[in-house]
Symmetry: C2
Subunit: 95 residues, 2 copies
Amino acid sequence: MSKEQNTVYIGRKPAMNYVLAVITSFHSSDTKEVTLKARGQAITTAVDVAEITNRRFMKDLKVSGITLGTEEMPPREGENRSRMVSTIEIKLTRG
Amino acid sequence: MSKEQNTVYIGRKPAMNYVLAVITSFHSSDTKEVTLKARGQAITTAVDVAEITNRRFMKDLKVSGITLGTEEMPPREGENRSRMVSTIEIKLTRG
């Protein structure tokens, strides 16, 4: 199985959408590990998703690793400079 | 020295304000460790502060620990229910 199947990309939707994606990912494959990836403002949503999934739905989950990073993004319309955007990866493991 | 002196609370100001606070904290005391604390939307700013301080100003820093959590906040004006808010603590250590 490719590793990407166990990755949930966090965007601008409400946190509950991604919570459902994480639960589905754990239940549909026999994986012990799902990684959340987010950048910019979605970082807060990624933390919400980890906390909600863990506290409300899968109490046997734990956060087994968190990595911060920075990515260069192309300039916005009408701007000249590329932007630096922070990223986060949160690895959730089933105990 | 109290531990609180080595904690930088991240709020709604621009990230560079807190980057300066972190650098000052490392230089004014002889500490090897500063902790960033944030909740809600400020979580993204906290990650920005860790990344900018590390990449642009203090290349010998590393993220030595990240803890996620949830806090109960009092209800907003006109609402009945308390809200759950995600939190993050990012520990920065000088190598």
